[in-house]
C-alpha cells in the first residue's frame, strides 16, 4: 500500500507558468500605478488560500475528535493542504510593506484626530499587530505540523498511541484555532474599516474557512480519484463529502443572515455604513452573487442524492464554490480599499498565481508522503464504508 502521488512534468510546467503569470501581474499592477488595488488583491488571495489551508486543518481535527471512520483514507489531503501555511506565512510577511495603503489606523496623524481610533489604538497598532500575526501563524504551523508528524510516525510504527496523541492535539487545536483565527480575521479584514465592528464577523469568516476548506479537500480528492489514487472510494464517500458542503452552506447562510439582518433591522448608521457601499453602488450584483453562489446554489444542487453521489457533478459544484469564496472575500475587502467595481487582469492574474502556488505546494507535499495512511486504526472502516 506504499503509494505516493506522482507529480508529472506537465503539472510542474503548468504550475510554474501560473505562478510566473501571477508574479508578472503583481509587477504590472505596481508599475502601472494600481498600488492600492494590487495590495488589496494580494491581501485577498493571501487570505483566501490561508483560510482554505487552515479550514482543511480544522476539518482534519474534527475527523479525529469525532473519530470518524469514513474519512480515514483521505487524511493526507488536509495534511498536505496545511503545509501551505508555511508558504503563506512567508508570503504574508510582504503584506507589512503595504499596510499603509490598506489600513486607515496605521496613519498616526489621522488616529490622533479620531477619538474612536485613538480608543482602539492599544490594540490596533503595528507592533502589536505584527506580534499577533507571528504568534497566530506560529501556533497554526506548530499544531498542523505536529499532527502531520505524528501521523507519519503512525505510518511507520503503527499502534493506537499516535491516534490518541493526534486526537488530543486536535482537541487543543480547535480551541486555539477558534480564538486565533477570529482575531486574525478581525485584524486583517474587519480593521480595513476600523470604525465599524460586527461581533459575528469573525464567526462568519470562521465558517467560511471551514466551508471552503472542506470544498477544496473534496476537489483534490475527486481529482486524485479520477487519476486512480483511491481505488477503494465509492459513492458513499462522495455523498459524505457533499453532505459536508451542503450542511456548511446552510451554516454559512445562517451566519450571513445573522449579520445582515440584525444590522438591517436595528438600522443604526454606525453599523449600516458597512452595507451602504455594498448594496447601494455598483457592488450590488456581487453582493447578491455572494449569497446565491455560496448558499442557494449548493443548497438546491446538492439536495438531490443522485447529484451528490456523482463525482463529476460534485466537482462542478466545488468549482462554482471556489468562485463563491472569491466573491465573498472580494466583497469583504474591495469596498473598503479600492472601491473600484471591476474585475480585470489584476484580480484574475493574482488569483491564478496564488492558485498555481497552492496547487504546487499541495502536490509537492502529497508526493512526499504515503497517500493512504496504512496504520490508521479506522482505515478498514473507511475502505469498507457503505
Amino acid at each position: 500500500m506504499e503509494k505516493k502521488v506522482k507529480v508529472s512534468r506537465g503539472f510542474i510546467i503548468i504550475v510554474s507558468v501560473l505562478v510566473a503569470y501571477g508574479i508578472f501581474t503583481v509587477i504590472i499592477g505596481f508599475t502601472t500605478g494600481n498600488t492600492v488595488r494590487t495590495w488589496a488583491n494580494l491581501l485577498l488571495n493571501n487570505y483566501y488560500f490561508m483560510s482554505v489551508a487552515i479550514g482543511a486543518a480544522f476539518w482534519l481535527a474534527i475527523q479525529y475528535i469525532t473519530q470518524s471512520g469514513w474519512s480515514a483514507q483521505f487524511i493526507r489531503i488536509p495534511q498536505a493542504m496545511s503545509d501551505y501555511l508555511i508558504v503563506s506565512f512567508v508570503l504574508w510577511t510582504f503584506m507589512f510593506f503595504g499596510v499603509h495603503h490598506l489600513y486607515e489606523w496605521t496613519h498616526l496623524e489621522e488616529v490622533a484626530n479620531d477619538p474612536i481610533l485613538l480608543h482602539k489604538q492599544p490594540y490596533l497598532n503595528i507592533p502589536f499587530f505584527a506580534i499577533r500575526y507571528t504568534l497566530f501563524f506560529g501556533l497554526w504551523i506548530y499544531f498542523t505540523q505536529r499532527i502531520k508528524r505524528l501521523s507519519t510516525l503512525e505510518d511507520k510504527y503503527g499502534g493506537i498511541t499516535y491516534f490518541k496523541k493526534i486526537e488530543l492535539n486536535s482537541k487543543i487545536f480547535i480551541y486555539v484555532f477558534a480564538i486565533t483565527f477570529s482575531l486574525f480575521s478581525i485584524d486583517w479584514l474587519m480593521s480595513l474599516d476600523p470604525h465599524w465592528y460586527s461581533t459575528i464577523y469573525a464567526v462568519k469568516k470562521f465558517i467560511m474557512a471551514f466551508y471552503h476548506g472542506a470544498t477544496i479537500i473534496t476537489a483534490i480528492v475527486i481529482i486524485l480519484y479520477f487519476k486512480g489514487y483511491f481505488p477503494d472510494m465509492n459513492k458513499t464517500h462522495f455523498l459524505d463529502f457533499s453532505r459536508y458542503i451542503f450542511a456548511l452552506s446552510i451554516i454559512w447562510a445562517y451566519m450571513w443572515l445573522s449579520q445582515y439582518l440584525l444590522i438591517w433591522y436595528a438600522n443604526i448608521p454606525e453599523e449600516t455604513i458597512y452595507y451602504v457601499p455594498r448594496i447601494m453602488s455598483d457592488y450590488k450584483p456581487y453582493f447578491y452573487a455572494e449569497l446565491l453562489i455560496n448558499w442557494l446554489f449548493p443548497f438546491l444542487f446538492l439536495m438531490w442524492n443522485r447529484v451528490a453521489k456523482n463525482p463529476y457533478l460534485l466537482l462542478f459544484a466545488v468549482l462554482v464554490l471556489i468562485v463563491g469564496q472569491w466573491v465573498e472575500l472580494y466583497m469583504s475587502i474591495m469596498p473598503n480599499t479600492t472601491n473600484l467595481h471591476k474585475i480585470t487582469y489584476i484580480e484574475i492574474g493574482t488569483f491564478i498565481g496564488y492558485a498555481g502556488l497552492f496547487a504546487g505546494v499541495v502536490a509537492w507535499s502529497l508526493s512526499r508522503m504515503n497517500l493512504i495512511p496504512k496504520n490508521h486504526p479506522y482505515l478498514m472502516e473507511s475502505i469498507k464504508h457503505h
Binding site: L257, L261, Y265, N267, H386
Partner: protein, 174 residues
C-alpha cells in the same frame, strides 16, 4: 392486504444481511424484512424506492411560496403599516418563511407517510412476528399461487441454510 407467506426468523443482524444476499442471489423475491432497528444498507439491498423526499421538496416549495404570499398580503396589501422607516415588503419575512417552510414540509411529510402506510394513533400493529420489536429479525417471502412444491422447498432450504432459527408459514395481514 392478506397474503400467505413464508417467514424466516433470524437472531442476528449480520446473519440476516448475509441471508438476504444469498436469497437475492438465488432469484427469490423478498417481500419484506422486519427488524427492531434500522439496518444500515438494507434499503439499497432490497432495491426499495421511495418518493417521499420528492413530496417533501414540493411541500417545502409550496410552504415557502404560501407563507410569503400570506405575509405579503397581510403587511403590504391588506394592512400596510409603516414602522421604523422599513419598507413594507421586508427582509424580516425571511425568518418566518424559513421556520414555516420547515414546519409545513415536516408536517405534510408526516401526514403523507401516515396516509400511505394507513397508520393512525392507537392503531394496533399488525406484525407477522411480534418479537421483531424486541430481538428477532424476520424475512417475509410471499407464497404465490403459481409456485410449485420444488420452489417452496428451495426457499425453505435456503432459509434453513442461511441460519434461520425458525421457519413458519402463515397468513399475513398488513
Amino acid at each position: 392486504m392478506k397474503s400467505n407467506s413464508i417467514i424466516g426468523i433470524y437472531k442476528d443482524e449480520n446473519v440476516l444481511l448475509e441471508a438476504i444476499d444469498e436469497l437475492l442471489a438465488n432469484n427469490i423475491r423478498i417481500y419484506d424484512v422486519f427488524s427492531p432497528f434500522p439496518l444500515h444498507g438494507i434499503f439499497e439491498k432490497l432495491k426499495l424506492k421511495t418518493r417521499i423526499p420528492y413530496a417533501t421538496f414540493i411541500y417545502g416549495v409550496i410552504g415557502t411560496i404560501s407563507v410569503f404570499a400570506f405575509l405579503y398580503w397581510t403587511s403590504v396589501v391588506n394592512y400596510p403599516l409603516k414602522f421604523g422607516g422599513k419598507p413594507l415588503n421586508t427582509l424580516s419575512f425571511i425568518i418566518i418563511m424559513f421556520v414555516l417552510t420547515i414546519f409545513v414540509a415536516t408536517l405534510f411529510t408526516f401526514l403523507t407517510y401516515f396516509t400511505i402506510e394507513k397508520m393512525w394513533p392507537g392503531k394496533e400493529a399488525k406484525l407477522p412476528v411480534p418479537r421483531t420489536t424486541s430481538d428477532e429479525f424476520a424475512i417475509l417471502i410471499e407464497k404465490k399461487p403459481d409456485m410449485d412444491k420444488n420452489e417452496l422447498d428451495k426457499i425453505t432450504r435456503l432459509l434453513e441454510k442461511t441460519g434461520a432459527t425458525e421457519i413458519k408459514e402463515s397468513e399475513v395481514d398488513y
